[in-house]
């Protein structure tokens, strides 16, 4: 049993390696099956349409700006964005593969997540739509699009993203576990927020759909 599996795996690996020599795997292939070099198919965690898995705190990738996705993969690899899970996978991707898989997800439509009308959090809404200018913090939507749908090339969609994921990211900015933000913008912004505000804005953003106006 053990031997047979090993053999079949080895065969698959050889076959894959052979095809890789001919042409690098497409973004779609990497997304669905991985690159065969240690990076598993992204969809196993991020959903078959890249829609994420809110329950598990896995973010959606579909419709995110390509440059943003590439930047994140590089950041996982060089650990300017610390993630024990993503670090080895990202490190297993070549620059070319990063580019291809990012392009694949960027081309998918933004998921129809969120959109739980009536759950608006007043504090969270104010932070997202107006900011907290008394301490110099712009609204989230000022850079991430007027409904949090992202602004290519550098600003990801944040509406309808997993609440858990959003909260963790904001906390990571604050603790310096994520430091791959251009000009240190996110670190600066988060520095002005209290913990309760981080929770509120994450909660609020999670209720929105990036695909339609709030």
């Amino acid at each position: 049993m053990k031997i047979r599996i090993s053999v079949s795996l080895a065969c698959a690996a050889v076959a894959y390696a052979a095809s890789a020599l001919a042409a690098p795997p497409s973004g779609k292939t990497i997304a669905q099956q991985g690159n065969g070099k240690g990076a598993p198919g992204c969809i196993s965690c991020h959903g078959d349409k890249g829609q994420g898995n809110a329950g598990a705190g896995y973010p959606y990738l579909a419709g995110q700006p390509k440059a943003y996705l590439v930047h994140q993969l590089k950041a996982f690899a060089d650990q300017t964005r610390k993630s024990p899970v993503m670090q080895p996978f990202a490190s297993a991707l070549s620059a070319e593969e990063m580019d291809a898989v990012a392009e694949y997800f960027a081309a998918l439509p933004l998921p129809k997540t969120g959109g739980k009308a009536g759950t608006a959090d007043a504090v969270g809404k104010r932070l997202a739509t107006q900011g907290k200018w008394s301490v110099g913090m712009p609204a989230c939507f000022q850079c991430h699009g007027d409904r949090g749908q992202g602004v290519a090339p550098n600003f990801p969609a944040i509406s309808g993203q997993s609440e858990d994921y959003l909260k963790k990211q904001l906390e990571h900015w604050r603790k310096g576990e994520r430091s791959n933000d251009p000009i240190g913008l996110m670190q600066s912004v988060v520095g002005h927020l209290e913990e309760s505000e981080i929770a509120a804005v994450s909660r609020y953003l999670a209720t929105l759909s990036p695909a339609k106006a709030p």
Partner: protein, 304 residues
Amino acid sequence: MDIRFLFLFTLVVFATGNAARAEPAQPAGEAAQAVTTPIPVKAFQPPSEDTIPDDEFGKMVRLGKNIFTHTDKYAAKYVGNDQKCVNCHLDAGRLAHSAPLWAAWVRYPAYRKKNKMVNTMQERIQGCFRYSMNGTPPPADGETIKALMSYAYWLAEGAPTGVKLPGQGYPKLDKPKLEPDYERGAKIFAQNCALCHGADGEGVRQGDEQVFPPLWGEHAFNWGAGMHRINTAAAFIRANMPLGKGGSLSVQQAWDVAYFINSHERPQDPRFEGDLKATKEAFHNHQCRYGDKVGKTVLGQSSQ
């Protein structure tokens, strides 16, 4: 009495004339880090957005706010570029040190050197459309002006008439130690500004939405806008840019990048009547590059 002055924290040290203030060295090639500590500034606090009344007046205030924040949608026919009111007046015109509306409201009518006459608030607003938005001034008695006036008035609730309030306009900047420089400015721009405004200052559009305004070129503010003046732009930048990191550029950096940005071609001064030199002499006796040669271009020469 309903005058509310609260101690707010702003991110800007605007200790003009404080030449002794340290200018920290910047690691070359790295983004500027915050160099200032927030200091308390006694600033007027406009009323909360939630308190706009639910009546006819409130409707007009809300329309004003919409025009102000989405000028391209709510006052499209008066806008000739990709600029909105809120681009120069952050936080929907509420933010101290970003030419807040509440501070402006209580200071008009006033004489302005720019046009050598007393200007009413409506004329001041018309000027923004003519220059900063490179468009057509809305009629003095039309709804656009009325709504913007109503919004400004509402924001100024409790502010004392005729009084120069802390936080008005942009905080005047110290002179730079070195003459502002194009090359240094270009580097600062690439490191701090291009992220949002684009490598060529072209801004970012998304669908029909202007997300980040262009800083030069045919869709930017024109050669008559206040922001084409290097001192004005430097003051605005130093206090407010990069967005969310106001005060992080040094005084020298703010001057350099303002010089760089305003050394590019942009739409013609609407007061231009065919003669660049005459226009420069009549209207550009200030710190600006209109009429200067930059590379092979004489700025203002080939303006739209």
